[in-house]
Amino acid sequence: MIKLNNIAAGYNKVEIIKNISIDFEEGSITSIIGKNGCGKTTLLKTASNLLKPFRGQITLKGMDISSVPNKELAKKVSFLPQLRAVPNITVYNLVMHGRYPYLGFSRTPQRLDKEIVENAIENMRLEKYIDKNVQNLSGGQRQKVYLAMVLAQDTDIIFLDEPTTYLDINHQLEILETIKKLKQMGKTIVMVLHDLSNALSYSDRICLMENGEITIYDTPQAVYESREIDRVFNILSTQVAAEDECKTQYVFCLK
């Protein structure tokens, strides 16, 4: 789907990530994990064309993404940054911003745009907040509004940078369930997650990074069994079965 080939990228001529070659699978959830400063966000920004790589090539369905015009790319790839300005507008208007790449010269939303926005709001169960100011919402509600905006952008690939950071556990799980729903809609999701347990439980693939390079990219089970997580984070991980749902969970402790 989206393929990075021997990518090196960074800021101010300093390489943060290097030798990155990865092919994100279509219709799957991939979590990028790794220690602080290992280049997770840089990889996400480079893959979504927000950051130009120093070398290497990124292709989307075989097409070099650097040659795709901005608005056309925005119809295929969306990126939700961790830190965002919170504009002083209503939920509806913010979600409508997701339709920007599709608007014509007059920037007037058409009936289809309005329908898509209403569906996105409904999907995220935000109907009762529709006329509320985004600045007056809690962190969890705000995150859902941004996800609704991404949903309205209607791209096949969604990059999310730490979508659950700063949220309480209830909102974290709600956001992760929403991300699962996006996958069921056929979207390809690539996200940076700090919570290893959630990353291993909710993802189809795990991309573990260390010092700007990919250490392992495989299924959560294979990554767990490789013990690479234990080595990179200097911890001890254990797989446990949750009692009621027979779902695998992970616990971690210091070595």
Partner: protein
Amino acid sequence: MNKNSKSYNTTVIAFLVVLLLLGVLMSISIGSSRISLSEIIDALQQRDNTSKSYRIISFVRIPRTLAAVLAGCALSVSGAILQSVLNNSLASPSIIGVNSGAGLFTVLIAAFFPASIKYITVAAFMGALIAVLLVYSIASRTGASRMAIVLSGVAVSSFIGAMTDTVLTLKPDTAIQRTAFLIGGLSGITMDRLSLAGGFIVFAFVIAIILGYDMNILALGDESAKSLGLNVARLRFVFLILAALLAGSAISFAGLLGFVGLIVPHVSRILVGYDNRILIPVSALLGSIFTLLCDLLARVLFAPFEIPVGIIMSFLGGPFFIYLLIKRRRGQLYD
């Protein structure tokens, strides 16, 4: 009526248009000699060059009224653009070097080319544009972020200010021109002086309205805006040039009118919120009304003597801005 609804916005704009028309009529009618509404209509219909009323109206009052409307509109829209694009509620044209650039070129013309003093308006405009381009070219080397633009604006303004002071020290005679420019005023304006600047203002205002929605997208932050397909660096450059074009044009015939570009966008936001598609026209209308009102006061307060409009603006604007700041601290402002 729900605030920010379509009907609310339409009502606000309609109300401001009526106020502006009233202001225009008052500005044409009131002055050292009063001209009634019927006299105005008669004079404009007959166009009699020998009539005193007609001459006052067409050569003094109309150019002056138009100048107030254009300057108020231009400075307010310029401030609204900058506050929105730089996400800085204290941004005004001076922050991107407009005032210092225009000031330096005014002083340079007065000091070294006194015979060309009639070109002082063009020089002020060129100075403003050059300063803004300099600010942007420095900021773009570090990615043209909002903070980079603000900081390079401060640095460039300070450097240009030093150059201006050097010229003033070496050529003290030019200080009078500089003082008039610094205070700002609308007396003695002719249609000739307005035509070029007016054209620029109308052009930039129309573009700003067209790009209002893109400005809203920019308010999401650079990364979100880029992800939505916006060319952030290019658009920010376009907005800076628009802001410079608007403010530089106004400064070129009215001098440095303080506070309009800072206060009017704030008040407009209280009225209609943050949607730039509405905020830009409302700022334009409110800026024109405020400038007209200040100019009227400048003319009538100490009649038959007249004081520069810039002084009235600072007297009204300063305390009002302090009031806004205190309200904001208490969390009662629009945030």
